[in-house]
Subunit: 114 residues, 2 copies
């Protein structure tokens, strides 16, 4: 299965606290996105470190960027996250799992595999 590898790569990318925080910032920023410098102020890591993490997130497809002049604007790519959640719910877990766990907010998931 190739999808497992891709999903693992995304999970690994989000599995670093700094990167998860970066990704959270970007999701909160919505369609508009956030510049690298703004992210840096919010997250508080040196520019080179941030650049490294952003490249990582970009590599697995969780983040995209638009270059305008000297400013790079980063945007979360929801489709990739959707695929990750799709793998987790379909291939891997949630339907057989979450629905019978506790009745949080997840009952609404549709049944896919028998």
């Amino acid at each position: 299965m190739k999808e497992l590898e891709a999903t693992a790569a995304c999970l690994e990318a989000l599995g670093n606290p700094t990167r998860l925080e970066i990704y959270r910032q970007l999701v909160r920023a919505g369609e508009e996105g956030k510049s690298v410098g703004t992210i840096q102020k919010a997250v508080g890591v040196p520019a080179s470190t941030l650049s490294h993490h952003l490249k990582h997130l970009e590599l697995v497809g969780l983040v995209e960027r638009r270059r305008a002049g000297t400013t790079h604007t980063c945007v979360a790519n929801y489709m990739t996250m959707d695929e990750v959640l799709g793998f987790l719910t379909e291939e891997c877990c949630a339907d057989s799992a979450l629905r019978r766990a506790h009745d949080h907010d997840h009952r609404a998931h549709k049944l896919k595999a028998g």
Copy 2:
């Protein structure tokens, strides 16, 4: 935020292809779980490697185990996964994200934050 750290730890744990495969096996096994030996046959890694990965998954709370005689039965802990997905949907992403992306199967998520 403490939750971010815990979520990142879970994502990191699932972010290794072997561990994601192990976790998938366990979820598919359901409540009944799967013995370490059975997992080993399915996944095909040496016992010591598998043990190491299982400990990792156990440490972050994604897996629990029941000892019966000489056999250890591993079970996926759905509650932990639920918390991870909860963080991703509430704190971090999906509502502002997935719902407007493409109309996959995720429309059913309930709105939480304004």
